[in-house]
């Protein structure tokens, strides 16, 4: 019986994925340091020469900026990707809801029941990633709100438009989280844990699919393709 190779992610999308993964690790490691500096500066140098917190913040913001750009690209791909236009799988119509349920049933019955086409990205997949992108967007908005506090004078090295724009775009996060800057910070920190939990399940699920579906799913994000059985291709 033959397997057919289906292309799932372009080279660009795969690079994007790994850039996001690296940024995630960097943002978490540095974010936790910012929240509670967990190692000591062990350099016997004057304060002016070593920038341990400053570097952590720098890396955090760089990871954040790369994140932001990649998120905008991903948002674009939701609508215009050549492969899977993810938004089509997000619309809560009968077909998508059924598919979402079927994939969930597959996971819960330990792959004993599998009533959907695993060739393409399914609805469950789309919703799962959409949640991730919402959380990322939230990190972006709360992070930028924390960041704009460093410009109380309303000026920045690239002009006054930058803090003004950040205020317009993110001030509402203060009122939504509880009315103080501390609440924004708490939410930024808390959301990190939801993201880590998301990543845990994400990795587990990709490995699980690879092991039990036997379609080489893990290769989607490495080689860009997976395999599906020829006959199944036809039957669906």
């Amino acid at each position: 019986m033959a397997y057919k190779k289906v292309k799932r992610m372009s080279l660009f999308m795969r690079i994007n994925h790994w850039v996001v993964a690296i940024c995630m690790v960097a943002a978490i490691a540095t974010g936790l340091y910012i929240g509670h500096p967990y190692y000591q500066t062990l350099i016997a140098d004057l304060a002016v020469d070593k920038y341990v917190m400053a570097w952590n913040r720098w890396i955090h913001f760089m990871a954040a900026i790369i994140f932001d750009v990649s998120s905008i690209v991903v948002a674009y791909l939701y609508f215009f990707s050549r492969f899977e236009k993810a938004y089509k799988k997000l619309i809560p119509n009968g077909e998508n809801i059924k598919e979402f349920g079927d994939v969930l049933v597959n996971l819960m019955t330990l792959n004993r029941v599998k009533k959907f086409d695993s060739t393409h990205a399914d609805s469950f997949n789309a919703v799962f990633f959409f949640i991730f992108h919402l959380m990322l967007l939230w990190m972006l908005l709360t992070g930028l709100q924390l960041y704009v506090h460093a410009f109380p004078h309303g000026e920045s090295s690239i002009g006054a438009w930058w803090p003004t724009m950040l205020h317009l775009a993110t001030d509402w996060t203060v009122w939504i989280t509880g009315g103080t800057y501390m609440d924004v910070r708490i939410s930024h920190h808390n959301t990190m844990y939801w993201i880590i939990a998301w990543v845990m399940f994400h990795i587990y699920y990709q490995v699980w699919r690879t092991l039990f579906w036997q379609e080489g799913d893990i290769n989607i994000v490495v080689g860009g393709s997976k395999f599906v059985k020829e006959d199944k291709e036809k039957s669906n």
Partner: protein, 409 residues
């Protein structure tokens, strides 16, 4: 909060705390003329004056030179060009022509104390001393019915002209009846509304009066709120901090004397000239923050070397006030200078959310759903443990019972 105080305007209100300090000659010329005219009219008015700043300065052995030095510093603080210094000085001598009614609600009188109780009063404090204080429960001799008569009379005489200074939070919840004032048993809320009604503007002094402060801390048994949540239709100026810096109170009242108007305010109704600075940006320990050099424990080597207090719970990065610049008691010192982190006392809900004496990650804070207090990291580790257990159960079940797609399906 009552009708979510103009929620929409707030949403888009934070234009930053920038005060434009270069508005061109025409603007400042017009402003100067306006101020001179106002001071002129105050000078000739027959409003009350009991003591004068000249006499108070004399009594403290302060010279005219000291006074002028103070005036030029105050001029800079109010973000006016230096040619306004004489006007500022003149306004200071006329501070006793602006009647002030100072009421106290749920508070510790700490703001009054900060002004009155210094053994070598600063000029800021002296000026507040010679204000035409028509009514102040803490320092006046009268009591009971006599005091109430004073209040009535002051409110009638200076109707529409007096500044209503409020110290302390307003209980409006189930516990409001525990706090009454005067022989008629007026609640604090009624008292405040009555006095604020005929005032020219309301100045909320200290964090209790601005945001509810300590009385409003969880579980807030009296339902305490700030003045701005109770008083409507009056200009309100918030001067938070615990206690409010006398320099900022003087600056605000001086601004009112000079212009008859309230200073430019930020989105929390705080004067921008005072609250447009972040503590962290002007802190003398900032180099140690960037270097990652932190005090780990009270009295350790780091503390002896003036390292950053972030890990001891300093909230300077999220707090806006000018204490790192103006300091307290004639710039002698301020909390971080004396070795204790900032507790965010000029921010809303500071007691519950800032003054935890720990970095945020370790602060025990009530979950949004209520219930037990946890730090974010405790909550996070709980969440990750739950996720881990779920995954482990699924993995074990899969390993033993899952169907592996076979080659020949």
């Amino acid at each position: 909060m009552s009708d979510r105080r103009d929620a929409l305007t707030k949403l888009f209100s934070a234009k930053g705390a920038k005060v434009d300090t270069n508005r061109g000659e025409a603007y400042y010329e017009a402003l100067m003329n306006r101020m001179s005219a106002r001071l002129q009219s105050l000078e000739t008015s027959n409003l009350a004056m009991k003591s004068s700043i000249e006499r108070a300065l004399d009594a403290q052995g302060l010279t005219r030179r000291d006074f002028m030095k103070w005036a030029s510093a105050m001029c800079a603080m109010l973000m006016l060009p230096s040619q306004f210094t004489p006007l500022v000085a003149q306004a200071a001598t006329l501070m006793n022509r602006v009647p002030v009614i100072w009421i106290e609600l749920q508070d510790c009188a700490g703001n009054s104390e900060a002004i009155l109780r210094s053994d070598a009063p600063t000029i800021d404090e002296l000026i507040l001393d010679v204000l035409s204080l028509e009514f102040n429960e803490t320092i006046m001799a009268a009591a009971g019915h006599q005091a109430e008569e004073h209040l009535e009379e002051a409110m009638k005489t200076f109707k529409g002209k007096y500044l209503c200074v409020v110290e302390g939070a307003v209980p409006i919840g189930a516990g409001r009846e525990w706090c009454t004032i005067g022989a008629k048993g007026e609640t604090f809320e009624e008292h405040l509304k009555r006095v604020a009604k005929d005032s020219a503007a309301v100045v909320a002094v200290g964090t209790c009066a601005t945001f509810g402060g300590v009385p409003a801390a969880s579980p807030n048994p009296t339902g305490a709120v700030g003045v701005q949540d109770v008083v409507r239709g009056k200009p309100i100026i918030n001067i938070p901090a615990c206690p409010a810096n006398p320099a900022n109170i003087t600056g605000t009242i001086l601004h009112f004397v000079l212009t008859g108007q309230i200073p430019e305010l930020d989105h929390l109704n705080r004067p921008k000239f005072a609250f447009g600075y972040r503590i962290h940006d002007n802190c003398e320990r900032r180099a140690h923050f960037d270097a990652g050099e932190f005090v780990e424990e009270w009295g350790d080597e780091g503390a002896k070397n003036n390292f950053c207090l972030y890990k001891m719970g300093c909230k300077g990065p999220m707090t806006f006030n000018n204490c790192s610049i103006v300091r307290y008691n004639e710039a002698v010192n301020w909390p971080i200078g004396s070795g204790h982190g900032c507790i965010g006392c000029s921010e809303p809900q500071f007691w519950d959310k800032y003054a935890t004496e720990r970095p945020l990650a370790d602060s025990r804070i009530k979950a949004p759903t209520g219930g037990v207090e946890k730090s974010v990291d405790e909550f996070g580790l709980g969440l990750l443990t739950a996720a881990g257990i779920g995954i482990a159960i699924h993995a074990v079940a899969s390993a033993s019972a899952a169907k592996v797609e076979s080659e020949e399906a």
